[in-house]
């Protein structure tokens, strides 16, 4: 009995070492507003794309996913990267390099293994297909932080929290695989108002995002550094020499208004 107790204590201690083991991925520093060294105006918005590397499923993993899909009775495949296994958070720092206070806005879009949601691509699509600018709908990001005022030569630190990603991942799956109205699901918090999620099965296995499009906009000269923090509860993060997961998600393109 004593030996069993000792083994149990050791097992708990070993498990405790892995309770909170995040991995950090650094994004490219972004710079918006102000002038470039050669005197040109710098764009007021910039986006960086960061893809988190995950290991590819083995043949037995794939078989297990198919068995899980059958067991759950789902029409759509069960994702390899599940929201329940991966907790994502983005921490960022804004620096206002200007002599006057500025307002900055941070947005997050991205892709899961089935759907890519890129606001810039959707806006371009509307611009190409809708000649009249008044007809072009507003395109909402998956996650939009509250605009922040950054005083001159000051720094602001912010976080896009794990629960923001949890909501965004559900919205992205509803939009991509279940044809939900993007505006409906993106405006509403699903636990408060699940409008737009009617087609999503109750036992849906929500895919996690693997690609993050981090956008910062500002009305003054600012820089932004960010890191993506991933807590991997299912040993999905890539580690050489295992093969890397290379999904090819479909770009989401909404129906044109009036068509």
């Amino acid at each position: 009995m004593r030996r069993i107790d000792l083994l149990a204590c050791l097992a708990i201690a070993a498990a405790g070492c892995d309770i909170n083991t995040p991995t950090y991925f650094q994004g490219m520093p972004l710079e918006v507003g102000g002038k470039t060294p050669d005197g040109m105006d710098r764009p007021s918005s910039a986006t960086d794309t960061l893809e988190v590397k995950f290991r590819a499923p083995s043949a037995s993993d794939t078989a297990a996913l198919m068995a899980e899909q059958q067991r759950l009775g789902l029409q759509q495949p069960v994702p390899w990267l599940k929201r329940s296994d991966l907790a994502i958070e983005v921490a960022f720092t804004l620096r206002n390099l200007d002599d006057k206070p500025g307002i900055a806005l941070v947005m997050v879009n991205g892709a899961n293994e089935f759907t890519n949601y890129d606001v810039a691509a959707i806006v371009s699509y509307f611009n190409m297909n809708l000649a009249n600018a008044q007809d072009r709908p507003v395109v909402l990001p998956l996650i939009q932080a509250v605009p922040v005022m950054v005083p001159a030569h000051q720094t602001y630190q912010g976080v896009v929290r794990e629960d923001d990603f949890t909501e965004a991942e559900l919205d992205l799956d509803a939009i991509g695989r279940y044809g939900a109205n993007a505006a409906s699901v993106l405006i509403n918090r699903s636990e408060v108002n699940p409008i737009g999620l009617e087609m999503v099965p109750k036992n849906e296995v929500v895919p996690a995002m693997f690609r993050i499009l981090f956008t910062v906009s500002a009305d003054t000269h600012m820089t932004c550094d960010y890191v993506v923090r991933v807590r991997d509860g299912a040993d999905r993060l890539w580690d050489s020499p295992s093969p890397q997961f290379m999904p090819a998600p479909m770009d989401y393109m909404p129906a044109l208004p009036g068509m």
């Binding site: 070492c17 083991t21 050489s240």
Partner: protein, 198 residues
């Protein structure tokens, strides 16, 4: 007759005799009576990063344990595990405020000098330090950014005060570990401990 005997005694030189009948009283308390051999320690204290990682991570609370064996009164070998939690202090960087845990696991040799209830000791050894995340890799401090382990070696010392109970003693110790896989960085640990010798 009595007068003759008295004169005979008075006529001889006098002599004083002494005899030791008991062992000398032992010092109190007698260190020889303290338990000796296998021992265990529990400790609490703080761990600080030194060097380049020193301004990136805060000092953290630490909890640890030792299990050792005194081969002699003056020499012991011991296994040491110490866990601590730290907060990132990356100034004006997004990593600021992020938490990281450290797990130190080392094997040590220990030399002890005892005088009655007080001992002073020095210990040295090496082992592995495991980090719970790659937080230090984001600022280029890990030599191998994909590894969360670092070889570590170093030493320290302290003072031990034995209670009148033959099993228990209390002490304070300070130690330094050089982290071979974290660029120009080390760990300073200061702890108080309670020791039980079986």
């Amino acid at each position: 007759m009595g007068v003759l005997a008295a004169l005979a005694v008075m006529g001889r030189p006098s002599r004083v005799c002494a005899q030791i009948t008991d062992e000398p009283a032992p010092p109190f308390p007698d260190p020889a009576k303290f338990s000796h051999g296998l021992y265990a320690e529990g400790e609490v204290g703080a761990v600080s990063f030194l060097g380049r990682a020193g301004d990136k991570m805060s000092t953290g609370v630490a909890v640890g344990a030792r299990l050792g064996y005194e081969a002699f009164r003056w020499f012991a070998i011991q296994l040491h595990a110490l866990g601590s939690t730290h907060q990132g202090s990356f100034e004006n960087m997004p990593e600021a405020g992020q938490l990281m845990q450290l797990y130190q696991m080392t094997a040590e040799g220990k030399l002890t000098l005892t005088y009655r209830r007080v001992s002073v000791f020095g210990a040295g050894g090496g082992g592995i330090v495991r980090m719970s995340s790659n937080l230090l890799a984001t600022v280029g401090l890990l030599k191998d950014p994909t590894s969360l382990n670092s070889v570590a070696f170093g030493g320290g010392g302290g003072i031990d005060w034995h209670t009148l109970n033959r099993h228990f003693s209390l002490g304070a110790q300070i130690g330094f570990l050089l982290l071979a896989d974290v660029r120009e960085s080390g760990l300073l640990s200061t702890t108080l401990y309670l020791r039980y010798t079986f």
